[in-house]
Amino acid sequence: MWRKLCRLIKPDWLFALLLLFGIGILAFNHPSTGDSLVSTVPLFPRLLLLIGMVFFLALFATSGAALDRRRIDDYYFQLMANGAIIAVVTTLFTNVIWGLFDGVFPALSGDELAGVLIGSWSLGYFFYRFRGLNA
Protein backbone atom coordinates (compact mmCIF):
# COMPACT_ATOMS: atom_id res chain seq x y z
CA MET A 1 0.00 0.00 0.00
CA TRP A 2 2.75 2.47 1.05
CA ARG A 3 4.92 1.45 -1.92
CA LYS A 4 1.96 1.87 -4.27
CA LEU A 5 1.38 5.36 -2.88
CA CYS A 6 5.09 6.21 -3.23
CA ARG A 7 5.06 5.10 -6.87
CA LEU A 8 2.13 7.43 -7.56
CA ILE A 9 4.21 10.42 -6.49
CA LYS A 10 6.22 11.61 -9.47
CA PRO A 11 9.37 13.45 -8.31
CA ASP A 12 9.44 15.69 -11.44
CA TRP A 13 5.90 16.91 -10.77
CA LEU A 14 6.57 17.24 -7.04
CA PHE A 15 9.66 19.41 -7.56
CA ALA A 16 7.90 21.53 -10.23
CA LEU A 17 5.18 22.11 -7.63
CA LEU A 18 7.81 22.97 -5.01
CA LEU A 19 9.31 25.51 -7.43
CA LEU A 20 5.92 27.19 -7.85
CA PHE A 21 5.39 27.04 -4.09
CA GLY A 22 8.79 28.70 -3.53
CA ILE A 23 7.99 31.48 -6.01
CA GLY A 24 4.61 31.90 -4.30
CA ILE A 25 6.28 32.34 -0.91
CA LEU A 26 8.63 34.95 -2.40
CA ALA A 27 5.71 36.79 -4.03
CA PHE A 28 3.38 36.80 -1.03
CA ASN A 29 5.99 37.73 1.55
CA HIS A 30 6.55 41.15 0.03
CA PRO A 31 7.17 43.52 2.94
CA SER A 32 4.59 46.31 2.90
CA THR A 33 5.78 48.14 5.98
CA GLY A 34 9.08 48.84 7.64
CA ASP A 35 11.78 51.33 7.06
CA SER A 36 14.21 49.20 5.06
CA LEU A 37 15.17 50.24 1.57
CA VAL A 38 14.04 46.86 0.21
CA SER A 39 10.45 47.37 1.34
CA THR A 40 10.17 50.52 -0.79
CA VAL A 41 11.02 48.59 -3.98
CA PRO A 42 7.87 47.59 -5.93
CA LEU A 43 6.79 43.93 -5.93
CA PHE A 44 7.69 42.86 -9.47
CA PRO A 45 11.26 44.22 -9.73
CA ARG A 46 11.97 42.78 -6.29
CA LEU A 47 10.43 39.44 -7.22
CA LEU A 48 12.35 39.32 -10.52
CA LEU A 49 15.60 40.19 -8.72
CA LEU A 50 15.01 37.49 -6.09
CA ILE A 51 14.02 34.80 -8.61
CA GLY A 52 16.98 35.71 -10.85
CA MET A 53 19.37 35.58 -7.92
CA VAL A 54 17.98 32.24 -6.70
CA PHE A 55 18.20 30.81 -10.24
CA PHE A 56 21.83 31.83 -10.80
CA LEU A 57 22.96 30.90 -7.29
CA ALA A 58 21.31 27.47 -7.68
CA LEU A 59 23.11 27.06 -11.01
CA PHE A 60 26.40 28.13 -9.40
CA ALA A 61 25.84 25.74 -6.46
CA THR A 62 25.15 22.91 -8.94
CA SER A 63 28.51 23.53 -10.64
CA GLY A 64 30.19 23.71 -7.22
CA ALA A 65 28.61 20.41 -6.17
CA ALA A 66 29.74 18.75 -9.42
CA LEU A 67 33.30 19.92 -8.68
CA ASP A 68 33.03 18.65 -5.09
CA ARG A 69 31.84 15.29 -6.36
CA ARG A 70 34.91 14.91 -8.57
CA ARG A 71 37.37 16.11 -5.92
CA ILE A 72 36.20 14.34 -2.75
CA ASP A 73 35.41 10.74 -1.91
CA ASP A 74 32.00 9.51 -3.04
CA TYR A 75 31.43 8.42 0.58
CA TYR A 76 31.89 11.93 1.96
CA PHE A 77 29.85 13.43 -0.87
CA GLN A 78 26.98 11.08 -0.04
CA LEU A 79 27.29 11.96 3.67
CA MET A 80 27.09 15.67 2.82
CA ALA A 81 24.21 15.20 0.37
CA ASN A 82 22.18 13.12 2.83
CA GLY A 83 23.00 15.61 5.60
CA ALA A 84 21.72 18.41 3.34
CA ILE A 85 18.35 16.66 2.96
CA ILE A 86 18.09 16.45 6.75
CA ALA A 87 19.00 20.16 6.94
CA VAL A 88 16.32 21.24 4.45
CA VAL A 89 13.58 19.20 6.12
CA THR A 90 14.64 20.27 9.64
CA THR A 91 14.74 23.96 8.66
CA LEU A 92 11.32 23.82 6.99
CA PHE A 93 9.74 22.07 9.98
CA THR A 94 11.47 24.37 12.49
CA ASN A 95 10.06 27.37 10.64
CA VAL A 96 6.54 25.91 10.52
CA ILE A 97 6.52 24.70 14.16
CA TRP A 98 8.01 27.99 15.40
CA GLY A 99 5.29 29.78 13.41
CA LEU A 100 2.63 27.96 15.45
CA PHE A 101 3.88 29.88 18.49
CA ASP A 102 3.54 33.22 16.75
CA GLY A 103 3.00 35.85 19.43
CA VAL A 104 4.53 33.69 22.16
CA PHE A 105 8.07 33.75 20.78
CA PRO A 106 9.53 36.38 18.47
CA ALA A 107 9.62 35.29 14.80
CA LEU A 108 12.80 33.62 13.55
CA SER A 109 15.06 35.94 11.57
CA GLY A 110 16.72 34.93 8.30
CA ASP A 111 20.07 34.67 10.09
CA GLU A 112 18.57 32.37 12.74
CA LEU A 113 17.11 30.14 10.00
CA ALA A 114 20.53 30.06 8.33
CA GLY A 115 21.93 28.93 11.71
CA VAL A 116 19.29 26.18 11.92
CA LEU A 117 20.14 25.12 8.34
CA ILE A 118 23.91 24.96 8.91
CA GLY A 119 23.56 23.30 12.33
CA SER A 120 21.13 20.64 11.11
CA TRP A 121 23.33 19.99 8.05
CA SER A 122 26.23 19.25 10.40
CA LEU A 123 24.03 17.08 12.64
CA GLY A 124 22.65 15.20 9.61
CA TYR A 125 26.20 14.58 8.40
CA PHE A 126 27.27 13.13 11.77
CA PHE A 127 24.08 11.08 12.19
CA TYR A 128 24.79 9.37 8.85
CA ARG A 129 28.52 9.16 9.65
CA PHE A 130 27.83 7.13 12.80
CA ARG A 131 24.71 5.21 11.75
CA GLY A 132 25.87 4.57 8.20
CA LEU A 133 24.32 5.56 4.89
CA ASN A 134 22.38 2.29 4.70
CA ALA A 135 20.71 2.68 8.12
Binding site: D73, D74, Y76, G132, L133, N134
Partner: protein, 63 residues
Protein backbone atom coordinates in the same frame (compact mmCIF):
# COMPACT_ATOMS: atom_id res chain seq x y z
CA UNK B 1 24.46 -5.16 0.67
CA UNK B 2 27.07 -7.58 2.04
CA UNK B 3 30.63 -7.75 0.78
CA UNK B 4 33.82 -9.81 1.13
CA UNK B 5 36.17 -6.85 1.15
CA UNK B 6 37.53 -7.44 4.65
CA UNK B 7 38.33 -11.10 3.91
CA UNK B 8 39.92 -10.32 0.54
CA UNK B 9 42.00 -7.55 2.09
CA UNK B 10 43.12 -9.81 4.96
CA UNK B 11 44.14 -12.55 2.48
CA UNK B 12 46.56 -10.07 0.93
CA UNK B 13 47.78 -8.71 4.28
CA UNK B 14 46.70 -5.22 3.35
CA UNK B 15 45.67 -2.68 5.95
CA UNK B 16 42.64 -0.50 5.34
CA UNK B 17 45.05 2.35 4.61
CA UNK B 18 46.89 0.24 2.00
CA UNK B 19 43.65 -0.59 0.24
CA UNK B 20 42.47 3.02 0.47
CA UNK B 21 45.73 4.22 -1.11
CA UNK B 22 45.34 1.82 -4.02
CA UNK B 23 41.72 2.82 -4.55
CA UNK B 24 42.55 6.52 -4.05
CA UNK B 25 39.86 6.94 -1.42
CA UNK B 26 40.03 7.67 2.32
CA UNK B 27 40.58 4.93 4.90
CA UNK B 28 37.19 5.88 6.35
CA UNK B 29 35.56 5.01 3.00
CA UNK B 30 37.13 1.51 3.09
CA UNK B 31 36.04 1.08 6.71
CA UNK B 32 32.48 2.20 5.90
CA UNK B 33 32.26 -0.29 3.01
CA UNK B 34 33.63 -3.15 5.14
CA UNK B 35 31.22 -2.46 8.01
CA UNK B 36 28.26 -2.19 5.63
CA UNK B 37 27.67 1.48 6.42
CA UNK B 38 28.07 2.50 2.80
CA UNK B 39 27.55 0.84 -0.58
CA UNK B 40 30.21 2.11 -3.00
CA UNK B 41 29.29 3.86 -6.22
CA UNK B 42 29.44 1.80 -9.41
CA UNK B 43 32.80 3.34 -10.56
CA UNK B 44 34.33 2.55 -7.15
CA UNK B 45 32.87 -0.98 -7.20
CA UNK B 46 34.51 -1.53 -10.62
CA UNK B 47 37.81 -0.18 -9.25
CA UNK B 48 37.63 -2.61 -6.31
CA UNK B 49 36.79 -5.52 -8.62
CA UNK B 50 39.71 -4.61 -10.93
CA UNK B 51 42.12 -4.40 -8.01
CA UNK B 52 41.20 -7.87 -6.73
CA UNK B 53 40.94 -9.20 -10.29
CA UNK B 54 37.40 -10.42 -9.64
CA UNK B 55 33.91 -9.54 -10.82
CA UNK B 56 31.70 -7.20 -8.81
CA UNK B 57 29.32 -10.09 -8.05
CA UNK B 58 32.17 -12.07 -6.48
CA UNK B 59 32.85 -9.26 -4.01
CA UNK B 60 29.43 -7.74 -3.38
CA UNK B 61 26.54 -9.96 -2.44
CA UNK B 62 22.86 -9.01 -2.40
CA UNK B 63 20.98 -8.84 0.88
Amino acid sequence: MKNRLKVLRAERNWSQADLADQLRVSRQSVNAIETGKYDPSLPLAFKIADLFDMTIEQIFLPG
